[in-house]
Each structure stands twice: as C-alpha cells, then as structure tokens.
Point group: C2
Chain length 397, copies 2
C-alpha cells in the first residue's frame, strides 16, 4: 500500500482558500515548424508540419512548472485569455487557466497546443500539401492520439521542457494525458484526466460513424477535396455537430433548459419548421459550427477517438498498459455524463490501482453531462485548484 | 383503495402454464375506404382515405374479444403470420400474436391496422392526391396520434366493434393505446402500453430533429416532392435510421454484440472505410431501411411522436388527462430502455393511480434497450400471456 493510494477528493477540497480569478489577457499564438518526419501510428511518415501554440505564465528557473493542456474534438491551442486582434475570442478553458484560477498562471507556465489535423492553425487537411501544391483534403494522413502526443513531445523539446509538472485534458484531451503517461513516463509528474475513457464504446463509435456518414454523403464533400470546389459540406457537418451536441448534454439538463417549450408560440403549428426550442437550439449550434469547423478535421478527430485504446496491445488489460508509467494521476468524472460516464473513469482508476500507481479520483455530481468538464462548477474547480496547489508546492512555485 | 390497485407482475406470472406457439399462417391484408372527411388535430380536414388492416382469429358472437394492435414508427398492419405471396415476410409482432401465443388468436380477434401517413398501404404521402393527380408528398397533412386513433375508431365502426377487449402497442403504439383510453373511454376495457412515454423529452425530440435534418438536407429530397423526380433521399433516410437505431439499442447490448470488434481484420487499417463491426451493422441497417421506407413518412411519424402530450391541455397534469378513462391499464417498461426509460412509464402509472384507475405495472429486467418490446423475452411474454388470459376469461373465450 505504500506505493499507491486512492486519495479522496474531500481530502483536497479545502487546500485552497479562495480563488481570485483573472484573465491572462491578450495572447498571440506562436508557431513551431518541424521538418523531421513524424512516424505515424499508421506507418506513414509525415513532414513538414507546423504546430500552433499559446503559452501563459512564466517558466521557472529549473523548468519544473510547465503544464500542457490538450484539447478535445472542437477546441484548439487557444485555451485562455483573448486574441490580441479579437477581444471577444476567449479561450475555451479560460475559467480553468489564468492568474488565481485552478491552473494558476502566476505559478505555472501553461502551454496550449493545437493538434495535427486541426483546422485552427496547425498543419491539417486545409493546409497546402507541398507535393501537390493543393490542400491535402482527404490525403491528409489518419492521425491518432499517439501521434498527437509524439508531436507535442517534439514541441516540448523545442521549448526546452524535459518534464511537465502536469499534462491535462478533458474528454479526448484526457486521452492525450493518459497517452503521455504511457509513452513518455519520465516526462510528466502528473496526468490530469477529466471526463475521459480508456476506449470508446460501441455506442460512442456508432455516434461518430453516423456523424461521418452525414458528412461524407453531403454532395458538397467531393470525397474530401471540396476546397478546390470553393464549397464546404455544410449541411453534413451541421448534422454531425447536432448529433455530437446531443451526446454532450445530459438528458436532465436538456429537459431543464428546453423541455418541450415551444419556440415563439403557445400552441402547435403542425409543421416541420422549428416548433420546439430544442430544435432551434440544435439547428443554431449545427449551423454555427459548420461556418468555422472543417469537415475533414471532424472526420480525422472522430477517427482518432475511435482508435484510442491503450489496452489493445496488452490483450485488453489496461493495467498492463499502465505498468511503466511514473506519474501521479488525477481522474475526474461527472455523474450525468452519458458519453464517457463515471464507470469508464473508474475502469482507468482500477487499472492504475492494479498497476500500483498513485491515483486521485473524484466523481463530481454535476448536471451538465459531458460538457461539465468545461463548466464553471465550484466543487470541480476547487478540486482542480487544490490538486494544482499541491503540484505547485512540489515545484516550489 | 377499492377502486384502484397496482397489481404486481408476479401475481400474474404463473397464470398461464405453457405457451404452444404457432403461426396464424398466410394472411391477406384487407382495406377499408373512407370518404367522410376526418377532422385532424391541426384543423385540416382529410378525405378520402384508405386504411389497410389484417385480422387474426375469430370475432366471437357478442363481439367482445377484439384486440387492436397499434404499430410504432417503422411497422405496419402486418403484425402476425406471413403474406400469402411472400412466406418470408413475417409480421413484426409474430412472437406475440398467434395461436397459443401471449395474445392468443384462438381466443381473440386481433386487428393490425396501418396508420394514415404510412408507406405500407394506408393513404400516405406517396398516395395520389385526387386534387392534383400527383403524389401528396410534402402536401400530406401533419397527422397526430389523436388523428390515428380517430381513424382507427372509424375502422372499428366499420368492423362492427363497439368495444375492444384491449388496445395494445409498444413505443408509439403505446401512445395510441393511451390515446384510445382518453378519447374513447367506453370503447376499450384494457389499454396495454409497453415501452412508452407520456410525452417525448427534449432529448427524444432532439434525436428526431437531427434525423429530419438529415432527410430534408438530402438534395434528393426536393422539398418532399421527390416522387415526381424518380428519386428518393436515400442517404438522408439512411442517416436518420442510423441515428434512430442507436437509440433503440442499449449501450450494454451494443457493447456485448459488437464491442470494439474489427470487421474482417485484427488490426487497424487507419482509414474511413468500415473498420469496426458496429459501423458495418449500422450502415447496413441504414441502407436496408432506405430501400423500403418513405422519407416523408419518416418525417410525419417522428413529428407525431414529438406532438403527443395528453397532459398539454391539462396544464401538464397527466392525471387530469386520465380523469375520465374507464379501462384497466397494463404498463410495461424495460430496465435498459434509454429512449423511453422506466421512469417515463412510472410517470404514467402514478398519473393513473392519482386518477384512481386500475393499473398493473411491470418493469422487466431485459438487456435489449427500447427494442426489448419486440423481443422474445420469456418473462415479458409470460406477463403479457397472463394478462391476456385474464382478459380472455372476462370475455368468456
């Protein structure tokens, strides 16, 4: 028992007295170019590529206070603060990262990095393929969580960070934190894995597959080479997003927010235009998403989700995949998350305990479903703040 | 307490010793034409129309042994037996209805009726609009559960049935059984409501809406008038069906049947073709459905589901909607049904008890999700058999 323990969330809950939240302010993204080929899990080699990233806070003298934040399906390197040219463009985890926030940029040097295959700046399907002079489109290689982590490690090399204080992410971001602990055991002291899963279930894959079918069957998809046609498979992408969105929210939360409320009417109008508020909301979400997200990226990232399964090469034994990890682990799940429910986090916890690793696990009673990991929930944030307070003390910051 | 009771499933479980299942054999559908306009809930009047139906068993002398079976989204009047011209076309509830089966056609006169708006024979969007000489398409009126029940009542008049021994249905069929009890309190002695709900949740509506978006955004939809173009919105309908299908199965059942099993391979192929068995299964289900189902019917029936809400005109008080019903009620739900989970059946049970009506409620521990109501589950079938045995004795059959 000396080598591992399951620390209760309540032990940590009181460690931080109060948060004094602030913003990191305007942050200009940076880029790093890599010419050495990256060997992908598929066997393909990929080069050259560029990674876009942002940093917040200061790296300390012994370079021990770096935290890497990994993004999920539809996010980016823009984790916190605003863009200098667009003060309304706030980072996707700005409630989590900043001065006095749970991941306190007064104490940590935080890096947000955009993954390969994205549509937010790092090399992706819309980037120009140097071989053809045209956008990669469908020729962009299938990338995996492993590949992203390998690319992130090169960025860490470039920034002179040999060991992260923590690698952290929610959902797909949590998969990357797990993969870091497996692939680079000596390069992180803590893995913070929130609302994640050791592998997609058949139902998870099913939802991804339907979303992909909606995209590829849109006539504007042109087998992935729509850039040249000056068009985008907007309706397919919109339907894909609507499907995804349903899985991010809890049934109860949706019932409370929308219920059966009618849109601008007291009575049924008996037609197929928007009738219920939930229809209006979903259509809006789908349409908005389709204006800024790239369909090929959606395909790539859902496939990376499907493929993640660190136990696969260990005859399904997840604890064996964790056999050589060296970091401490914080696992967090949310009671109403039906996409990656608490049971899936508990599987990870059990595998880590079986492998005799340090685990802290918290199951947060939150109404917001999978999206809870992005929300400003006080209990959740107090927990993360307390955990990072402990990490900061280890770093001497 | 004298006027109502909650009968436990276990009380009924032993009433029938054994089933000797058989088939009703080849059955030719019949049709009934109606010229008198049907006033729809939307305010529109609709005529003329035809209803297709099948009957099994014999109506007894005092016409007291008739059972009406109402169908759900993708089914029809073809409940039991085979079609005389197609011995492989077995009725959708053949495991439930037949000689010696739970709804025993040796004792009951069973009617299966196809609803208005369907694509299986009753007047629907693909039928010729006598005003234009062309298929109705998008001009087919929006129909509701109330309208279907009113049309079914006219068919009952035509068949000389003033009171049903039972009206029975699963899912959307259960909504029709409920609506019968509310709209025609003296015309049924039992309502059998299986895997149903008093109203769709926001999440239920959300899934319907995404399915509809997939259909109407298919360029082959032509605003619902695709018949004239000799085309069908096959890809949209296929995606719609895939979405629906996910909601019919339980997460666990899907995990057990498909898990993360790869299709014809041991290792990932890193692409977007079918990789996992679940993808292959869903694509097949979607494509098959799109060859025989009509997209306009899918829109109409999902909208009828959305609109069903008998408590709406009673300030949300379902017990008030049940105030004047006269029948006994059997409610059945399945533990793993996440489309219409047990909680929704319990809402109906509570409303019926509040209204001081007779209710029997059974929650069946079954792995198959919403689809469980169609499955050959012995406990479920024993329960239904026992309940109908009691009804048969009341009828003297």
């Amino acid at each position: 028992m000396a080598r591992y323990f399951l620390r209760l969330a309540s032990e940590l809950g009181m460690a931080l007295n109060s948060l004094q939240p602030g913003s990191v302010g305007p942050i200009r993204p940076q880029s790093a170019d890599f010419s050495e080929p990256l060997l992908l899990k598929s066997g393909q080699s990929f080069s050259p590529y560029q990674l876009i990233y942002e940093t917040y806070g200061q790296l300390n003298a012994d370079r021990s206070n770096a935290v890497l934040i990994c993004h999920a399906l539809n996010a980016s390197h823009h984790v916190a603060g605003t863009h200098p040219d667009d003060p309304n463009h706030i980072g996707w985890w700005d409630n989590m990262v900043g001065p006095g926030k749970p991941v306190d940029t007064n104490r940590f040097f935080v890096i947000g990095v955009n993954n390969l295959g994205s549509c937010f700046g790092s090399t992706g399907p819309a980037s120009i393929n140097p071989v053809t002079g045209r956008p990669y489109g469908a020729d962009f290689p299938v990338v995996t969580v492993d590949d992203w982590v390998n690319a992130q490690a090169r960025l860490a090399d470039r920034l002179g960070i040999t060991q992260f204080a923590a690698v952290m992410g929610g959902s797909l971001g949590g998969m990357q934190a797990m993969q870091w602990s497996i692939a680079y055991p000596n390069r992180l002291r803590h893995a913070v894995v929130i609302a994640s899963t050791p592998r997609l279930s058949a139902q998870n894959i099913a939802f991804n597959e339907v979303a992909r079918r909606a995209i590829v069957s849109d006539p504007d998809f042109h087998a992935g080479h729509y850039y040249a046609k000056n068009t985008v498979p907007r309706t397919g992408l919109s339907v894909a997003r609507m499907i995804g969105h349903i899985t991010y929210l809890s049934d109860d939360d949706m019932a409370e927010k929308f219920g059966r409320q009618l849109r601008g009417a007291n009575d049924y109008r008996f037609g197929f235009d928007v009738e219920f508020e939930i229809e209006s909301y979903l259509r809006y979400q789908g349409e908005k998403f389709s204006t800024y997200f790239d369909a090929n990226t959606y395909l790539l990232i859902t496939r990376a989700l499907d493929y993640f399964d660190p136990a696969k090469d260990m005859q399904g034994d997840l604890s064996k995949a964790f056999a050589h990890i060296a970091c401490s682990n914080l696992l967090v799940s949310f009671t109403t998350d039906w996409r990656f429910p608490p049971e899936r986090s508990r599987e990870i916890v059990e595998a880590l305990l079986t492998a005799k690793k340090q685990v802290t696990y918290a199951e947060i009673d939150a109404p917001h479903g999978h999206d809870a990991f992005l929300m400003n929930d006080p209990r959740y944030h107090r927990l993360i703040a307390a955990y990072f307070d402990r990490i900061a003390k280890e770093c001497g910051t």
